[in-house]
């Protein structure tokens, strides 16, 4: 169910967290769907089960999954206010772009012009 890239330099438990949140946000994993057990996922991927357990613990702390002792881990329901992972990534890219523009001494007016043109243009096509 999950893919990891062992050569990427990103810790495996973080990749697992990204995988689960992406599947959850896109609706592929629905609320109350059961996730693979720690052991079966570790065995399938050939990685340390403690790494999988760590990812599951972190997901539970963030409220993305919940566990029932003896039964497994399940996807939790999404609250409406949740910002999705793709939205958070977009905000982060935007923030970096603005920081770069600031470094290059562009004015905020120039930036606002771009924002307005995209959102105006977007509205015309809706």
């Amino acid at each position: 169910m999950f893919q990891i890239n062992t050569a990427s330099g990103v810790p495996i438990y973080e990749q697992l967290i990204h995988n689960v949140t992406r599947l959850r946000d896109s609706g592929v994993l629905k609320p109350h769907d059961r996730l693979p057990s720690v052991r079966s996922l570790a065995v399938e991927l050939g990685i340390n089960p403690n790494t999988v357990a760590k990812a599951y613990r972190e997901l539970e702390t963030r409220g993305f999954i919940y566990s029932i002792y003896g039964k497994g881990s399940f996807v939790s329901e999404r609250a409406e206010e949740d910002v999705t992972v793709p939205q958070m990534a977009a905000l982060q890219s935007f923030r970096s772009a603005v920081q770069q523009a600031y470094k290059e001494r562009l004015s905020s007016a120039q930036l606002k012009q771009i924002i307005d043109s995209i959102y105006e243009g977007g509205r015309q096509h809706d």
Binding site: T6, G9, V38, R39, A42, V43, G46, N48, N50
Partner: protein, 298 residues
């Protein structure tokens, strides 16, 4: 649990292990890495009860392994050159070990024989190195040890068998709280498998931590300036390696990105980019600091 404290072992004039301290928790996988001759195999042999320490203490489940059949029954050591008698086959080795090892499982033996393609009646010493290793693994796993000590196990195993091994270990670490100490030069494989890494050089522990904090605490940074700079600009930054080409510096830093990045940005570089290190790069970097590097041993 394995508790090692002040462990020293000498062979004539060579100090193989020098007042070593190490703790290994149950259900964990610890990778032993280090320079050749650094003490990895000696440490595994002391854990397996093959060698007796000269000083210091080694306790497995609170007892010394040397000359201790009770503890030895809970452990299994796969050497880098697995030993077999000249007429050993899987079948007759199993017949012997069935009697010797208290936790031997026929079911596991059958299961492992099915997973690794080896003829049970064939003489093991007639097999290739890789097949001999596989035979050793089948026996090892069939004794259902609590502690598994592996010396250079990945060497000689093809990619398919390596994956089978990783899966089997993953299963047992979770299901039975198997504790694994594995010495390897194959750092790529260890990255998937280990919770903790212990780097040995000349019998001493150079670095010992969990693999995630090892990754978080090293970065390589490329930093470029539009004007020439003195090397001394990095004096207050935790740099452990510098490679300079004109106005571009390639740095290896030991520390957290959120701590050193502001310091580097304060130098007003034209560009800066940070990346994590692979385990291999961490190894080389730490070994350079210990004086063991490509410039000094060639």
């Amino acid at each position: 649990m394995i508790e090692i404290s002040g462990l020293t072992k000498k062979f004539d004039k060579i100090t193989a292990l020098d007042a070593l301290d190490l703790t290994v928790q149950n259900g964990s996988v610890t990778g032993l890495i280090g320079s050749n001759g650094g003490g990895k195999s000696t440490l595994l042999r002391i854990l397996a009860g093959v060698f007796r320490p000269d000083s210091g203490s080694v306790l497995i489940d609170g007892e010394r392994p040397f000359d201790n059949p009770k503890i030895k029954g809970d452990c299994y050591f796969v050497s880098d050159y697995p030993f077999f008698y000249s007429d050993s086959t899987l079948s007759n080795t199993a017949a012997l070990y069935r009697r010797l090892y208290p936790h031997w499982s026929e079911e596991e033996f059958e299961r492992c024989c099915a997973m690794f393609p080896i003829d049970r009646k064939q003489k093991i010493l007639n097999m290739s190195k890789g097949m001999q290793r596989q035979a050793a693994l089948i026996i090892a796993l069939s004794t259902c040890p609590k502690y598994l000590f592996l010396d250079e196990i990945f060497d000689g195993l093809d990619a398919v068998v390596r994956l089978v091994l990783k899966r089997l270990l993953a299963e047992r670490v979770d299901a039975q709280q198997l504790t694994v100490v594995i010495a390897s030069h194959n750092l790529r494989e260890l990255e998937d498998l280990c919770d903790n890494i212990c780097l040995l050089h000349r019998g001493k522990v150079v670095v010992e931590r969990d693999i995630d904090s090892l990754r978080e605490n090293y970065r390589k940074v490329q930093i470029g300036f539009s004007e020439p700079q003195e090397d001394a600009i990095f004096d207050n930054v935790p740099v452990v390696g510098v490679w300079r080409s004109g106005n571009v510096f390639n740095l290896t830093l030991k520390g957290k990105e959120e701590d050193f990045m502001p310091q580097l940005e304060a130098l007003q570089p034209a560009f800066i980019s940070a990346m994590p290190l692979t385990l291999e790069e961490v190894f080389i970097s730490e070994m350079e600091a210990a004086g063991y590097d490509a410039n000094h041993i060639c």
